[in-house]
């Protein structure tokens, strides 16, 4: 099974030509290259409102329960405009959503324990997986957060290929840190990370529709690693992580 951790769905306010406008087209594009399932977030949550966006996400994916799993966007409730962490995660679990994204820059909050602490505390305790895009934080912020929440399962998405000197010691230090693969195009990357840290730290992601999903898939399919490790990266890691949420 190939389970994509990093996919967007729905109409974007800033689409490029050929981006799918509906979930049907997303499923078709992913299945064309052999991707069976995808964790999907929606543009409305990102570009309009994370709280109201959850219902848009649900409507967007409800006709594809076997293919698309919702990954809503959460914001801290300090502004009084969002549910508290417990209520929020209860609502997610009711929909069988076991991961969520945070966008500190786009949604105007500091990525710091003081601000996101209660939310991440709840996520950590209930073993939810949290995703954050690379352009939404600086590394010192991530270090502060993971130092405070050492058991948090945090997936960095859209990480580029130039920061290996920073990434490797962070992966070594923080067991909960995972990296999504779409932009991790370092030559020899999979072989190096799997060799040093095992296959449990990488999650296949396509970054569709921004990226060509088959192109994102290729380096994982053809990496010089054992097939068991490959399957872990392609989907087993993500499936296990999601199953832990309660």
């Amino acid at each position: 099974m190939i389970f994509d951790v990093n996919c967007m769905v729905g109409k974007s306010g800033t689409p490029r030509p050929d981006w799918p406008a509906a979930a049907d087209e997303t499923v078709e594009a992913l299945q064309r290259v052999g991707i069976d399932r995808a964790l999907v977030s929606d543009y409305t949550s990102l570009q309009y409102d994370a709280v109201e966006g959850a219902s848009y996400l649900a409507r967007e994916i409800d006709r594809h329960p076997g293919s698309l799993t919702g990954c809503p966007m959460a914001v801290p409730d300090w502004g009084g405009d969002a549910p508290g962490p417990t209520e929020l995660l209860d609502g997610y679990l009711a929909r069988d959503w076991r991961a969520f994204r945070i966008y500190p820059r786009a949604h105007y909050f500091l990525f710091h324990p003081l601000v996101v602490g209660p939310l991440l505390e709840e996520a950590q305790a209930r073993r939810f997986t949290v995703l954050i895009n690379r352009d939404q934080f600086e590394w010192p912020e991530l270090i502060d957060v993971l130092s405070s929440f050492s058991r948090l399962k945090l997936v960095v998405c859209n990480e580029g290929y130039r920061e290996v000197r920073t990434l490797l010691p962070l992966l070594k230090r923080f067991d909960g840190l995972r990296i999504e693969t779409s932009w991790m195009q370092q030559f020899g990357l999979y072989e190096t990370i799997v060799g040093r840290l095992g296959a449990g730290r990488l999650l296949f992601g396509s970054q569709f529709p921004r990226f060509e999903p088959g192109a994102s898939l290729t380096p994982v399919l053809r990496a010089d690693i054992k097939d068991d490790d490959r399957q872990r990266i392609l989907g087993d890691n993500l499936a296990e992580m999601l199953a832990e949420a309660h």
Binding site: P17, W19, V33, Y161, R162, Q185, F187, E191, E212, P219
Partner: protein, 273 residues
């Protein structure tokens, strides 16, 4: 697509027009060695690559060219060379061209206006274009949005040299630059685009091929600056015809290389179409 997913040979020439070699300012695993590159190529079914050593992008193309010449010796027919060219030092520019092209493994010239911080229309690049025009060679130019590397500027700089085929490396810089690259190619018949960017833009190969034709779209990877697999996947998983895929993957680049004149004859990859 099915063959590729099953790990079977593609059955067409796969000739990467944009590759490098060696270490860089960020870590390149396996030191970006020729040996490691060949292993990657073998795993993916890539027949040949054309390289400009990373050192060519820094102070001394002559050093880079020399490193590449030595490194590729064990693999004839798998590696071909771009002559790195610097606008700053005559012995790293025009004199180096004369030296290098006595060697039949050199098939083109590499210009990097970004790392050399010299706009492509600077007169110090003219000798490179003149040489390429005289010998009907390709010139691979790093292209990106804004500044001295943008596609239209490259087109204007190369306009006086119609027999030089100028490859817009990175097709103007991913999504943000591709439309300017397409316009530049439409304005200048001697411009073509390669496909390599780390941004694996959805349907970018489809867009390029539809706009300027598969004869002018060339598979490139930036290996080992980045991995070759995603770049190959960009072409394989595109929705263009198999005939056009064969052109993009290597046929078009080979056609360009065959145009050369007044130089030692090429030794081509073992598999040619």
């Amino acid at each position: 697509m099915g063959r590729f997913q099953r790990g079977e040979p593609l059955g067409v020439l796969v000739f990467d027009c944009h590759a490098h070699m060696g270490r860089w300012t960020f870590p390149v695993f396996a030191e970006g060695s020729a040996e490691a590159m060949v292993a990657e190529m073998d795993r993916l079914g890539v027949d040949a690559v054309t390289v400009a050593h990373h050192a060519c992008m820094a102070a001394s193309p002559r050093v880079g060219n020399g490193l590449a010449e030595k490194a590729i010796e064990p693999w004839p027919g798998r590696f071909f060379l771009y002559c790195g060219y610097s606008p700053h030092y005559p012995d790293e520019g025009p004199e180096e061209l004369e030296r290098a092209f006595a060697d039949p493994r050199y098939v083109g010239i590499k210009l990097h206006p970004s790392t050399h911080e010299t706009a492509i229309d600077d007169e110090r690049y003219r000798p490179a274009f003149e040489f390429a025009h005289a010998h009907a060679l390709p010139v691979l130019v790093h292209s990106w949005t804004g500044g001295g590397t943008r596609p239209e500027l490259i087109g204007e700089a190369a306009a006086d040299f119609p027999d030089a085929t100028v490859i817009l490396g990175h097709h103007g810089g991913g999504w943000a630059g591709v439309e300017e690259a397409i316009d530049a190619c439409k304005d200048h018949a001697n411009l073509v685009c390669d496909t390599c960017t780390s941004e694996l833009t959805y349907k970018i190969v489809d867009r390029l091929t539809d706009a300027i034709g598969a004869d002018r779209v060339l598979f490139g990877s930036d290996l080992p600056f980045i991995a070759q697999g995603p770049q190959l996947g960009k072409v394989i998983y595109s929705r263009i015809s198999d005939e056009d895929k064969a052109k993009v993957l290597g046929g078009s680049f080979l056609s360009i290389l065959k145009q050369r004149r007044n130089l030692p004859p090429l030794s081509l990859p073992a598999k040619t179409d």
